[in-house]
C-alpha cells in the first residue's frame, strides 16, 4: 500500500497540475457564475413578466438537471447543431451556466431578505436603476449571501470533478489516469480527496474571513 502512495508521489507534478486546473476552472467559473447570477437576479425580480418568466424557467431547468447530463449535452449534444467547444471550453461553459442558476437563486433569496426601507431610502435620495443596484442593493445582498456563496463555491469545486468525463485534465481526471496506468486506485483517489479537502478548507477560511467583515456591516 505504501508503495502505491509512493507511485502517486512520484507523479505529484501531474496531480498538482490537475489541482491547479481544478482551481482555475472553479475560480473562473465561480467569478463568472456570480457575475451572471447577479444579472440573472435582476431578471428574476424584473417587473417585465416575460423577462422574469424566462429567467425563472432557466433557473428551474438547471436546478432539475443533473450536472453530468448537462456537461454531456454541452460537449456531445451541441455539436449536432454545429456548435462545438474544446473540452476546456465546454467544461467552463457547463460549470458556469449550471452554477449561474444557483447563484441567481441564492442572491434573490438574500435580496428578498433585505429591508425594503434601505431601498426606499435609496430612492428618496435620488438613486435609481444601475446606480441604485450597484451601490445600495448589491453590497448588502452580497454580504448577507457570503455563507451561501461559499457553499456554492464548494459545490462548484466538487462539480468540476464531473468534467473528467469530457477529458478536462482536472484533478479527478489526473488521479484517474495515474490509477489506470499503475493500478493504484485507492492511493490515487485518496490523494485527490485530500487535495479537494484542502481546497474546501481554503474556501471556508476565506468565507469565515469575509463573514466577519460582513457581520460588522449588518
Amino acid at each position: 500500500m505504501i508503495k502505491d502512495f509512493v507511485i502517486v508521489w512520484e507523479h505529484r507534478d501531474q496531480m498538482l497540475n490537475g489541482l491547479m486546473n481544478t482551481l482555475w476552472l472553479s475560480l473562473c467559473s465561480a467569478v463568472l457564475a456570480f457575475a451572471l447570477g447577479a444579472l440573472l437576479t435582476t431578471a428574476l425580480t424584473s417587473r417585465a413578466r416575460p423577462v422574469a418568466a424566462l429567467a425563472r424557467s432557466f433557473v428551474d431547468t438547471m436546478r432539475c438537471l443533473p450536472f453530468l447530463l448537462f456537461a454531456y449535452l454541452v460537449y456531445y449534444g451541441l455539436p449536432s447543431f454545429g456548435i462545438r467547444f474544446s473540452n476546456w471550453g465546454a467544461g467552463l461553459i457547463a460549470l458556469t451556466l449550471y452554477n449561474t442558476a444557483y447563484m441567481a437563486e441564492l442572491l434573490r433569496a438574500a435580496w428578498a431578505g433585505l429591508s425594503p426601507e434601505l431601498i426606499e431610502a435609496g430612492h428618496a435620495f435620488g438613486f435609481f436603476g444601475l446606480n441604485l443596484f450597484r451601490r445600495i442593493v448589491l453590497p448588502p445582498v452580497i454580504l448577507a449571501a457570503v455563507p451561501m456563496i461559499g457553499n456554492q463555491m464548494i459545490q462548484i469545486i466538487k462539480d468540476s470533478a464531473f468534467l473528467s468525463i469530457i477529458a478536462v485534465p482536472e484533478l479527478t481526471h489526473e488521479a484517474s489516469s495515474i490509477q489506470a496506468t499503475y493500478f493504484v486506485p485507492f492511493a490515487a483517489f485518496v490523494a485527490a480527496v485530500l487535495l479537494y479537502w484542502v481546497l474546501c478548507l481554503i474556501v471556508e477560511a476565506a468565507v469565515a474571513g469575509v463573514g466577519q467583515m460582513a457581520e460588522a456591516r449588518r
Binding site: E117, E120, A121, A124, F125, G126, F128, N131
Partner: protein, 274 residues
C-alpha cells in the same frame, strides 16, 4: 416678526413657497388614505403633522417626494412640479425625479441607514454618487454635519454598532448632506427607546431654530408644542385642523382634535405614572 409673517412677506414678494401640496388624494386598492389634502410650507417653517395612526400622515409625507405617487392633485417644490412635467400629463423620468428628490432630505422611522457603509460614507453617499459633488467638499461638509449632530467620533463606525438615537442622528446628517430645501421626518423617534428620544429631539429643535424648512410627522407633542410654527391635524386622510401650536394645544377647534389630544394626554400620563 415671526416665521409665518416672514413667509408671507416672501410670498408677497413673489417667492414660491418651499412646499405647495395642492389637493392630493391617494388610495390603496379601495382604501382611501388621503382625500384632497392641501398644504403650503414657507421657508423656515416647521410644520408638525399629528393624528391617530392610520390617518395618512406617513403617506402624505411619502407623496411629497413621490415615493408614493398620489392619484390626484399636484405637489410643487419651490415652484417646481414634483413627479410630473410642467403640464402634468407626463411622468418625470427617473433622472428628473432623482434630481428633484435630492432637494428633499428624508429621515425614516426605522433609520434606513445603509448597513454596508460607515457613518461617514452613509452621509457622503448621495452627495457623491447622485449629486456628483466634489469629494473634498462633500467630506468636509459631512464631517461638519456629524460634529453638529454630536457623532464626529463615530464617523468610521458601521450603523450596526450604534444605538437607535445615534442611528437617527446619522439619518438626520445624511438628510442634511444633500443641502435640501426641505426636510421630511417620518416619525423619527417612534422606533426609539424612551431614553434615546431626547438626543434626537435636541438635534431637531436646533434645526428648527436654524431656520431649516421641516415637515415632521410625530407623536412627540412636547417637540411640536415648542418647535412647530404650525400644527396640522390629520384624520381619516383629511386635514381637519391647522393652527399655531398655542391654538392647537390649548383650544383645538374641532372635537376630533380635542379627543385626540385628550386620549394622547391620558396615555402619556399613564406612561409617566409607571
Amino acid at each position: 416678526m415671526n416665521d409665518i409673517d416672514n413667509a408671507r412677506v416672501r410670498a408677497a414678494a413673489g417667492e414660491p413657497p418651499v412646499l405647495n401640496v395642492r389637493g392630493i388624494s391617494k388610495s390603496f386598492d379601495k382604501l382611501q388614505v388621503l382625500s384632497d389634502v392641501s398644504l403650503t410650507v414657507g421657508r423656515g417653517e416647521t410644520v408638525c403633522i399629528v393624528g391617530p395612526s392610520g390617518s395618512g400622515k406617513s403617506t402624505l409625507l411619502r407623496c411629497i417626494n413621490w415615493l408614493e405617487p398620489p392619484d390626484a392633485g399636484a405637489i410643487f417644490l419651490s415652484g417646481r412640479r414634483v413627479g410630473r412635467r410642467a403640464g402634468g400629463d407626463v411622468a418625470m423620468s427617473d433622472s428628473e425625479l432623482a434630481q428633484i428628490r435630492t432637494r428633499i432630505g428624508m429621515v425614516f422611522q426605522h433609520f434606513a441607514l445603509w448597513p454596508h457603509l460607515t457613518v461617514l460614507q452613509n452621509v457622503m453617499e448621495a452627495p457623491l454618487h447622485v449629486q456628483k459633488r466634489p469629494k473634498a467638499e462633500v467630506r468636509e461638509f459631512a464631517e461638519m454635519l456629524l460634529e453638529k449632530v454630536g457623532l464626529g467620533d463615530k464617523r468610521h463606525a458601521f450603523p450596526a454598532r450604534l444605538s437607535g438615537g445615534q442611528k437617527q442622528r446619522v439619518g438626520i446628517a445624511r438628510a442634511l448632506a444633500v443641502r435640501p430645501d426641505l426636510l421630511l421626518f417620518d416619525e423619527p423617534t417612534s422606533a426609539l427607546d424612551p431614553e434615546l428620544v431626547g438626543e434626537v429631539i435636541l438635534v431637531m429643535r436646533q434645526l428648527a431654530r436654524d431656520g431649516m424648512t421641516m415637515v415632521v410627522v410625530t407623536h412627540e407633542m412636547g417637540f411640536a408644542r415648542d418647535a412647530a410654527t404650525r400644527m396640522v391635524f390629520l384624520d381619516h386622510g383629511r386635514i381637519i385642523e391647522t393652527g399655531t401650536p398655542a391654538q392647537f394645544f390649548s383650544a383645538p377647534a374641532t372635537d376630533r382634535a380635542r379627543q385626540f389630544l385628550q386620549r394622547y394626554a391620558t396615555s402619556t400620563a399613564a406612561v409617566a405614572d409607571v
